[in-house]
């Protein structure tokens, strides 16, 4: 919503614009060329000026119902028609439909001499006639400056060209004027840019390290804001495509949906659910660590879900990838047959970095995948500088994110160097970064994987060894040794050690238990003995007690009898007797 407002405001408030229909250009110009005003397209030989003009008219006629007039001062009509046909424009049909009028202005210097003042009313009349015939809203003058070499008296010519531009403006015709740029310090050969004050666009075709790049820059655009960068553009069988560098902002949606990486245990490392949809994933590693295999797993999983995948292969041919992945149990061929998987393979050196980016854009736009793989992205550095690759990646990642496409980039790290530092530039663009390593311990190399970062999810921090088996990539359990994670044979011996240690511990435990049991039994036996002894003692004591009690009674009885018989101590018995007497009373 906010974006829509932004886009419509400047065009409605400041300046009406005529959309060119040229891919990407309307984004940079925020709507197109100034409507009803002339625009100067300046560029060197072969920079695509004529094509720019042609496409402006063809798209105007076909897409915006604005017929056009093409005044060619250089190429003949048959030549133009032929050239346009190679780019997919059918000029004769448009002409027959009265949507386009082509006029070739041919002047032969040798035939002409001059005597006295003249003006260009003839040209005015020709243009006016052509405009009237098709009801044109757009005019292209390609390249009007060639008149300077054909007509005498440049002073008059300059004044007349100035008058022509004014006249075209009065008529409200959106005009494209092309001009040849012969020196870098000026825009046109004869300085006609001073008559075109509204909009100037420079096209450039440069060769660097044997690779050509076309660039476009808006030098000025009066009354309108516009992108000021140099934008790469491409001319192919569909005409011009301009690639906006920064028109895509950081306002893409962030889906919360998670998708599987195709490797169950890797999903486990990524918070148990896998990657975020629409995120960018970097898989980096030295050569032979299995980057493509990890990517292939993801592709396979996506295709199983019925999603479309686009695989940009810069290193291997599609058939080679399919064959190699079959060796680890991933069969990509059915997906290719079903049309779910599309390979786009090319050597990076076939074009400049922008060309790659544009091709990438076009393929993505036409195939509409939900997963894109670039394997490996580092190969592009071959054709450009690291800085340019980063800027390309920024644009590509932004583009993919706006489209909600999940992207995997593999990156080849040079062995030995500090891994994180070497890719610091790229990493900030990436949401998830998997690092594949080759760990060297005990005279062998083993593959390991870890999640260096993964934005917005709880992820494992462990380094995990993995194997490439016949059934795909398999993550193994973790064994930590004194020098870090144990891999390969070291892991196996550790596993063995742990198994043996486990057995002996168990045995020891069992023997201890048996000992305890024995002790318990001994204890119980002793207890029983003691109990019997104790009981015997008690019995004996009881017997003694009762014996002694009965003896005592007998003795006192006998004593009493003896006392009574002896009447020895009456008082001793008074009590007894008194008590008895009292009882008698």
């Amino acid at each position: 919503m906010a974006q829509k407002k932004k886009a419509s405001q400047p065009s409605s408030k400041t300046l009406p614009k005529a959309a060119t229909g040229i891919q990407g250009l309307d984004e940079i110009t925020l709507g197109g060329l100034p409507r009803g005003r002339p625009t100067l397209i300046s560029g060197g030989a072969g920079s695509g000026k004529t094509l720019f003009g042609l496409e402006f008219l063809v798209r105007g006629a076909a897409q915006y119902n604005e017929p056009g007039v093409f005044m060619s001062f250089e190429e003949s009509i048959p030549d133009l028609t032929k050239n346009a046909a190679s780019l997919g424009f059918d000029l004769p049909r448009l002409a027959a439909d009265k949507k386009l009028f082509l006029d070739h202005v041919l002047i032969t210097r040798s035939e002409i001499s001059e005597s006295g003042e003249y003006d260009l009313d003839g040209l005015f009349i020709r243009i006016a006639d052509a405009v009237q015939r098709v009801g044109a809203r757009r005019v292209v003058l390609d390249t009007i400056e060639s008149l300077f070499s054909e007509l005498p008296n440049p002073g008059i010519l300059r004044a007349e060209i100035r008058r022509l531009f004014g006249w075209l403006k009065d008529k409200g015709l959106t005009t494209v004027i092309t001009a040849e740029r012969d020196r870098p310090d000026r825009l046109t050969r004869h300085g006609i840019e001073e008559f075109v004050s509204d909009c100037v666009i420079v096209l450039d075709h440069r060769i660097r390290e044997e690779i050509s790049t076309r660039r476009l820059r808006i030098v000025k655009y009066r009354g309108s804001t516009h992108g000021t960068n140099e934008y790469p553009f491409l001319i192919d069988e569909q005409g011009i495509s301009v690639l906006p560098i920064s028109s895509l902002g950081l306002d893409h949606a962030a889906p919360a949906e998670r998708i599987s990486s195709g490797i169950a245990r890797l999903d486990g490392m990524l918070g148990g659910k896998g990657f975020y949809r629409g995120s960018s994933i970097l898989i980096s590693g030295t050569s032979g660590t299995g980057k493509t295999s990890v990517a292939a797993h993801f592709v396979d999983a996506a295709c199983r879900r019925g999603e479309r995948c686009l695989f940009f292969a810069f290193e291997e041919s599609p058939r080679q990838i399919v064959r190699n992945m079959r060796s680890i149990g991933i069969n990509l061929q059915p997906w290719v047959r079903k049309g779910l998987l599309l390979f786009q393979a090319a050597r990076p050196t076939y074009g400049g970095i922008e060309e790659h980016l544009l091709v990438t854009h076009k393929r993505i736009s036409s195939f509409q995948p939900s997963v894109v793989v670039v394997d490996p992205v580092t190969n592009l550095i071959m054709v450009s500088t690291a800085n340019e690759v980063r800027s390309m990646l920024t644009r590509l990642v932004d583009f993919l994110k706006t489209q909600g496409i999940t992207s995997i980039f593999t990156s080849l790290t040079a062995g030995g160097g500090p891994l994180e530092a070497s890719e610091a530039d790229v990493s900030s663009l990436m949401d998830t970064w998997l690092v594949l390593e080759s760990i060297e311990i005990g005279g062998e190399r083993n593959r390991a994987l870890y999640v260096l970062k993964s934005r917005g999810m709880d992820h494992s921090n462990q380094i995990r060894e993995f194997l490439l088996t016949d059934n795909g990539l398999r993550l193994l359990d973790v064994y930590l040794g004194p020098e870090g994670v144990l891999t390969g044979s070291a892991r196996m011996s550790q596993e063995e050690r742990e198994r043996t240690a486990g057995t002996s511990r168990r045995q020891e435990l069992e023997s201890r238990q048996r000992e305890l049991e024995r002790e318990r039994r001994t204890f119980e036996a002793r207890m029983a003995t003691l109990q019997t002894e104790h009981e015997a003692k008690e019995e004996r004591i009881q017997q003694t007690i009762s014996e002694s009690e009965s003896l005592g009674k007998e003795a006192s009885k006998a004593r009493g009898q003896m006392v009574r018989s002896r009447k020895a101590d009456a008082s001793a018995y008074k009590k007894e007797g008194g008590a008895k007497a009292a009882l008698k009373h």
Partner: protein, 111 residues
């Protein structure tokens, strides 16, 4: 040899204009502007002086027949075209410099 060749090349051209006698001239103008009136007057004077009785002038006003401009590749006006004798020659401007007109039309030597 080379001098001879030059002569033979130049020769058929020179007698050629004489034979047809009639000069077909066409003057393109755009409306009755001072420039076009001046051009026609200048041409008339010149023809009377140098081509009396063997010229024909056709004036085409592009304001009335704009489609004719394409046929003769007219962009500047006034433009004078010598249709005959061949080859076609064009002179642009108001024809005020009669010397240049005569050179341009290649009539100076006719006298």
């Amino acid at each position: 040899m080379s001098a001879n060749k030059k002569k033979t090349r130049a020769r058929p051209r020179k007698p050629a204009p004489r034979k047809p006698e009639i000069w077909k001239l066409r003057l393109y103008v755009a409306g009755q502007t001072p420039k076009s009136i001046r051009a026609f007057a200048n041409l008339k004077v010149l023809c009377e002086k140098h081509l009396k009785g063997r010229y024909r002038i056709e004036v085409i006003d592009l304001m009335e027949n704009p489609q004719l401009a394409r046929g003769d590749q007219i962009i500047a006006v006034p433009t004078l075209i010598r249709k005959l004798p061949q080859p076609v020659r064009k002179i642009i401007g108001d024809l005020s410099d009669s010397m240049r007109v005569l050179v341009g039309l290649d009539v100076r030597k006719e006298d």
